[in-house]
């Protein structure tokens, strides 16, 4: 069992809105942010959780230049909020751990398309392509020098939260800003389409007739602090990270094992690290993408960890879409919001639950003291985080 790490501030932007209160309003009114794509220059007509703002509008919101990738602009909006929420002004000794998968892919796509129109490529403009540039630019925007980028597919930002806690535990840092950002891109949209796991309609995680996921975009960041750092600056914690669990499923490059080996290990390791029992968990924010494979594997993991007892759980991906590298942090913030407000935000769009152990299907009041959030990704990456009250 470990000492908790404190969360003093959070920032969030997704299809639900560009701050905490807009996000909360959408969640309690069961209003999904998923619509037909508007900003992404694609030939496809898929539904997606797109942030309803242009790059120019995002740039204005965060004070960055609009030639930066959408991933950076989304990140900068959430990052700025997190710092203001935490009242953190001095970032000199702060570390930044960022999760992203697409980084500047949107810029690269736009540049490459020009070649199709027989225009010569300007190679100098591809400097934004890589994950490291995205993180460095975000770190510069808040005056932070020490930064790390985790790119573990859809578990990237959950892993960033875990790394933040480990850095504080090992005394390598007293304060770490953690989270992640990913914008929608032609690359990922066509990739998931080629895998045939995009639902052409609204996704319905944990429904018997689920057909796949809707993609989404966004960013979320959390300010993590040691107790002494928090107290020395007279700040107040909003929640705590109690533990983390991490495992590899070692089953398939993209699919989860039917036995849910990795997911079960991650959940059990998190319980062990947090020093709480499975019964202590009041709510689980599932990974719940809406694909056939993920949801059945994840319910097997629930059975392995919680037994046949009905546990309050839901997937909020029918609200935001699957925001890939940002999903772990976005769902951490949404889960903590629910814990603070004593509410559970439901799994939307369910008409025929796939299991007797049904997810929460409408906004429900529930006092929660300990909650769990799952994030799984390509490459077999499984991460579970446990949060509590300060």
């Amino acid at each position: 069992m470990s000492q908790p790490v404190y969360i003093s501030g959070m920032g969030i932007i997704s299809a639900l809105g560009d701050d905490w209160s807009l996000t909360h309003q959408a969640l309690v009114h069961e209003k999904s942010g998923i619509k037909v794509l508007n900003h992404l220059p694609t030939n496809h007509q898929f539904l997606a959780g797109e942030v309803h703002k242009s790059n120019a509008e995002l740039a204005q919101l965060c004070g960055q230049k609009d030639h930066y990738s959408r991933t950076i602009l989304l990140g900068a909006v959430a990052l700025k909020q997190a710092l203001v929420d935490a009242g953190l002004e001095n970032t000199k000794d702060v570390m930044f751990v960022n999760g992203t998968t697409v980084a500047g892919m949107d810029i690269s796509e736009t540049l490459l398309r020009k070649r199709q129109d027989d225009q010569p490529l300007d190679f100098s403009k591809f400097y934004q392509h890589d994950c490291g540039f995205c993180t460095d630019q975000l770190a510069r925007s808040i005056g932070v020098k020490r930064a790390m980028t985790i790119s573990t597919a859809c578990s990237s930002s959950a892993n960033a939260i875990m790394t933040g806690m480990r850095l504080i535990e090992s005394k390598k840092a007293e304060c770490v800003i953690v989270g992640g950002t990913d914008a929608l891109s032609i690359f990922t949209l066509n990739g998931f389409n080629a895998l045939k796991i995009l639902d052409p309609e609204w996704c319905k995680p944990f429904d018997t007739n689920r057909k796949g996921l809707n993609l989404g975009e966004g960013a979320a960041y959390l300010v993590l602090e040691s107790k002494s750092h928090l107290e020395s600056r007279g700040a107040k914690a909003k929640a705590t990270v109690l533990g983390y669990g991490h495992a590899n499923d070692a089953y398939h490059q993209t699919a989860s094992s039917p036995e849910a080996t990795g997911a079960t290990l991650a959940m059990n390791r998190a319980l062990n690290k947090a020093g709480v029992s499975a019964d202590d968990i009041d709510y689980v924010n599932a990974h719940g993408t809406g694909t056939n494979n993920n949801d059945s594997s994840e319910l097997t993991a629930f059975l392995n960890v919680f037994g046949t007892k009905n546990k309050a759980y839901s997937s909020t991906k029918a609200y935001t879409g699957h925001t890939l590298g940002a999903a772990g942090a976005i769902e951490a913030v949404i889960s903590i919001m629910g814990m603070i407000n004593g509410e559970v935000y439901p799994s939307l769009n369910i008409s025929e639950p796939m299991d007797e152990r049904q997810p929460i299907q409408s906004v429900t009041s529930l006092k929660q003291s300990t909650i769990m959030s799952n994030s799984f990704g390509f490459g077999g990456n499984c991460t579970t985080l446990i949060f509590g009250h300060p």
Partner: protein, 323 residues
């Protein structure tokens, strides 16, 4: 808790993987140092080889060789650093999207394009259910993976498989050139772009070589940071061997020991520091320089600094010592 290196393996422009005597790498068109791919069949089945791109093959082979030499079948954790990830697969899928105008596509390249394909494939082939992480921080990707791996040893892991890999494509070469990354600040040196992979088995139990620390600082802070760091680490620069990707950037420091330029071994790329750590580990284990280094310092050294400076940005150092 100290971190020790038990074994290492590397693939570079110079054949470090299979041969004891080496020859200088051939430059390809455009002055690039391409990795010399070995016979992979000892480590990767032919069927699996056909499914893997160059980056993945180099990574899996060096990872497996390092584990074999350490006598470890399944590592407790896998940590990988990559600056640009699976570039060939990424470029291939992007091209397919554009050429087919978002029509029907095969998902194969997309599946293999994520940065964590390397670490994911190793865990899949080894059935390793442990910690599995991938860092992507330009020229700091390997150093961040190394920091994490040493934290895992501190946290009580008995062993960690640590590695780094990057591959070069025509596109990447064009982008690096267009952004001035391959020319030294004074314009007098052209850095050869390269590629490669290196994997290490790190352990908590004592071996011949200890990983001591890393340092990152900008050019303006170099003198000051170096002097306090060497004091903290209790090393004497004069008696420390330095393997550098860019020795010219260290000329302002006094009392510097002998410096060997290793940029010709694998060329310059975001995770080339891992090749330097391979050379440092090799030297400290055998107390012999690799044969193709022309001006070999004659003394024996108990500590080695690996250095990357001024090419992509900040200075970065990795310190290894003989236990």
């Amino acid at each position: 808790m100290k971190t020790f290196i038990k074994s290492s393996a590397a693939i570079a422009g110079v054949n470090l993987f299979e041969e004891k005597s080496h020859s200088r790498p051939q430059l390809s068109e455009g002055g690039v140092i391409n990795a010399l791919e070995p016979d992979y069949s000892r480590y990767i089945q032919p069927r699996a080889q056909r499914r893997m791109g160059k980056l993945l093959k180099m990574s899996v082979a060096t990872a497996f060789k390092s584990l074999e030499e350490a006598g470890i079948d399944i590592p407790e954790a896998i940590v990988v650093g990559t600056g640009l990830g699976c570039l060939n697969e990424t470029e291939k899928f992007l091209d397919e999207i554009i050429v087919n105008e978002e029509g029907l596509l095969s998902p194969t390249s997309f599946i293999q394009s994520t940065h964590n394909t390397i670490a994911g494939q190793i865990s899949l082939l080894k059935k390793c259910y442990g910690y599995n992480y991938t860092y992507s921080d330009r020229d700091n990707s390997f150093e961040n993976a190394l920091l994490d791996a040493s934290m895992l040893i501190e946290e009580g892991h008995k062993n960690v498989l640590l590695g780094a890999a990057d591959e070069i494509t025509e596109m990447a070469l064009n982008v690096m050139t267009a952004n001035g990354c391959l020319l030294s600040k004074t314009g007098d040196k052209i850095f050869r772009q390269g590629e490669g992979a290196a994997f290490f088995t790190l352990v908590g139990e004592m071996t011949d070589v200890e990983f001591k620390a890393t340092l990152k600082c900008n050019d303006g802070q170099l003198k000051e940071s170096m002097s306090s760091w060497t004091e903290d680490q209790n090393i004497d620069l004069k008696n420390t061997l330095c393997y550098s990707l860019n020795p010219g950037s260290l000329s302002n420091i006094e009392g510097w020991g002998p410096t060997v330029d290793f940029s010709f071994i694998a060329g310059i790329y975001f995770t080339a520091m891992a090749i330097g750590m391979y050379l440092g580990h090799d030297y400290l284990t055998s107390q012999k320089h690799i044969d193709i280094i022309e001006e070999k310092p004659s003394r024996n050294f108990k500590s080695v600094l690996i250095h990357n400076g001024g090419i992509f940005g900040d200075h970065s150092f990795i310190l290894l010592c003989r236990s």
